[in-house]
């Protein structure tokens, strides 16, 4: 079932090596290498571009990112500059119909997850009703006893959610994992678009792509809606771990775009169960804190006593209702990998709806029968630790060697409830520009991608019309993380 693009009229050698493959879903081209719905204008443009142009737009994109300072922090770099997140200028297109379903599915999912967190730290109905096992939730590493009884404004524990999706061989989007603590990456979505509007404005306009620039305004709106004091102009601040954090660029970017103060733990103080920042002219009360540090570091009186990143007494402030925080303490209980298996049940339980977005089949290894089956075929599964995020500790069975499998087996047997197993998902692929040989030679090659859209909850939910498409630049690699050779693409959601 393999075909090769035939070069027509205007010969385009960048496509010369592009092949279809029926074991993965290609997001742009079908098995006959015809463009999928919505992709025609982009493929037409790509087919008609002179090949030298590709190297040129890559170089221009690179220069723009550098000038805009969209970088990772590498302060020790010899040239005094920083590294940029590799960018692939071939956009990923999502047509309006596909997006409508995705959007509805994302809103449904985040509403249910938020309801779950509020329930777990509130009355615990879903646990009493036996829909999700109580011991699973209370034993979850991200469960925070300190959050029990906190009633956030609007009932919102989750204000920002980043939901990681992958597209299977069947072309359907599956939820791979939920990020409900401090999801990052949205600044790249916005900056990628800024670069694309300068790089290929005509194509962008003719495709009628939905804008992503409203995100900071929408986030600010959601944060203001959470203000517990009812002041007409609430004071909002973004809490960062500081300039050495790898996401510091994003913290700076968002605080500037929203026009709010960027604070560190040392800037804050709690007095009489109110939260303040230390201004040169005295203390200024904060109504809503958008925090980008983990629970463990937030409040040394309650969590890690050695933390210098947070502020002592914050939990008591939240409990008194004198300030709100986004996201709330303990939201990680809902993005736990084992709890994930129950997310379809949550949607039915809280919303009385059928889940719109499917999840990946998930085996909880604490069940002896399931465990036995998985251990017998360990080389067919992906094993993930339940409490971790960001791909840490994940073992991909088919790619692991004997030693790794044996070690994984041992770890599972030592603490079965700390692991889940899932079948290997063949991530979809997308045409991506790859440097070949020396010089400026470039070829389009299929590379694996995933997708992280962002959902905001305020009085009502809002979904950013786009998201972060990450691409594994190494051939055959399924790892899209920037630290391991991953890059990103602009994601074009088309107008209806």
């Amino acid at each position: 079932m393999a075909a090769t693009v035939t070069e027509t009229g205007n010969a385009v050698p960048v496509w010369a090596a592009y092949k279809s493959d029926d074991s993965v879903f290609d997001e742009m081209l079908d098995l006959s290498l015809n463009p999928r719905s919505g992709c025609e204008p982009v493929t037409d443009a790509l087919f008609s571009m002179p090949s030298a142009y590709f190297a040129e737009i890559c170089a221009r994109a690179d220069a723009m990112f550098r000038r805009m300072g969209v970088t990772f922090n590498v302060y020790g770099a010899a040239d005094g500059s920083e590294r940029i997140f590799p960018f692939d200028p071939i956009p990923r297109v999502i047509d309006a119909d596909t997006w409508a379903t995705l959007e509805a599915g994302l809103i449904q999912r985040v509403r249910a997850l938020n309801a779950f967190v509020a329930d777990v730290y509130g009355e615990g109905c879903i646990l009493s009703d036996g829909v999700v096992p109580r011991d699973l939730v209370l034993g979850c590493p991200q469960f925070r006893r300190a959050a029990v009884g906190i009633k956030p404004p609007l009932g919102n524990f989750v204000t920002v959610a980043g939901i990681d999706l992958v597209r299977g061989v069947d072309g359907r989007f599956y939820v791979l994992e939920d990020n409900l603590r401090t999801p990052s990456g949205v600044s790249y979505v916005i900056e990628n678009r800024v670069v694309m509007t300068r790089l290929i404005p005509a194509l962008l306009r003719s495709c009628r792509v939905r804008s992503v620039e409203r995100y900071p305004a929408d986030l600010l709106q959601c944060l203001m809606e959470m203000s517990p004091t009812g002041r007409s102009k609430p004071t909002i601040a973004l809490l960062t771990p500081g300039p050495y954090n790898s996401a510091f660029f994003e913290h700076v970017f968002l605080s500037q775009q929203m026009g709010i103060e960027l604070v560190e733990g040392q800037d804050l103080v709690c007095v009489d169960r109110k939260l303040y920042m230390k201004d040169v002219h005295g203390l200024r009360q904060i109504d809503v804190l958008y925090r980008r540090i983990d629970d463990d570091f937030l409040d040394p009186l309650v969590f890690r006593p050695d933390s210098l990143l947070g502020v002592a007494g914050l939990t008591a402030v939240l409990r008194s209702g004198n300030a709100a925080i986004a996201n709330g303490i303990g939201t990680g209980v809902a993005d736990d990998k084992a709890v994930y298996a129950y997310t379809p049940a949550m949607i039915r339980y809280y919303l009385a709806e059928q889940p719109i977005l499917p999840i990946v089949e998930t085996y909880l290894l604490r069940d002896p029968e399931v465990r036995e089956h998985v251990l017998r075929h360990l080389d067919r599964y992906v094993v993930k630790p339940t409490g971790a995020s960001g791909g840490y500790g994940v073992v991909i069975g088919p790619q692991a060697d004997e030693n790794e499998l044996a070690a994984t087996r041992e770890r599972i047997l030592r603490d079965p409830s700390a692991f889940i197993a899932q079948p290997v998902i063949a991530l979809s692929v997308h045409p991506t520009l790859i440097h070949t040989g020396s010089g400026s030679g470039m070829q389009l090659m299929p590379r694996h991608i995933d997708f992280r859209p962002f959902v905001l909850l305020g009085v009502r939910p809002r979904v950013l019309a786009g998201g972060l498409t990450r691409v594994a630049l190494q051939e055959g690699s399924l790892i899209v993380n920037s630290s391991q050779g991953g890059g990103s693409k602009d994601t074009w959601v088309l107008e209806a």
């Binding site: 300039p243 500037q256 040169v280």
Partner: protein
Amino acid sequence: MLRRIASHLFWTARNLERAEWRARLLDVNYHLLIESPPRDAQPWAALLAIFEERELFAQSYPTADETSMLNFFALDTDNPNSIRSCINNARNNAISLRHYISSELWLALNTLYLNAQEWTPEVFVSPGVFAFFADLKDSFYRISGIRHGTIPRDLAYDFMEVGIMLERAEDVARMLDVKYHFLLPLVEDVGGSIDMLQWASVLRSASGFEAYCKRFGNAIKVENVVELLLFDPTFPRSARFSLATLETSLNRIASQAPEPSAPLSQLENLSALTRSKRSREVIKSGLHQFLVQIQDGCAALGDEVFQRYLKSD
């Protein structure tokens, strides 16, 4: 503005100014010694005395010779006030300011920092002492120019001004003190040709030679040098000018407070000191004492500024 940010702005600016003055003082002292051969065994001791760094120096260096002194004052990071240490401090404070200052300012500062990491004692041989300090002064001018050309005149600018001007007023007093230490035991030279050469180089190190000639003609008189460096209201490196600028910035900062606050007690004293006196008067009553008064006043005002605006615990 957050106290932490104000503090970073203050210390970035102050450390740069301190590094610049250290470079100027070292440069002056080095060239003084070339043109007037040392009369005692430890011609560099005056510098150590002025900076009260004799003990620190003695911990790592057996003799106060030229090479040791250049290393200690310019390169040694065990000396918290060496030029390199000051540049490192400035840049480490600026890391948290990247969203408050212009990218050009960050780039210039970071470039200076990266260059300073490459310094070895070899720089005093090639390109040589003169070229090294000339180049360094250019870097400071570049940073100062970028600051003037790119930073809005808001709190960020004012807190940097406060850091710079406090340091500048203190350091101009210090530099005059170095000169006096040198001459004190040798009264017979005062007014002699060697002496005049030395005063001229003091003026040059403060970039004030041309300003001096314009105001007083080309005859170098101690009284007039002191007048220019301490009391001239228009010369940008005089103590009076620095303190007046400092006062303007501090008043502007105070005017933005939601509620009026008591004036900083040291501010009025300090600027009155240079506003109401003339050089003839202070030389007669004791220049050293007067310079100490300025230095102590700057230290006390620095404490007040810290307590009122910068301290965050």
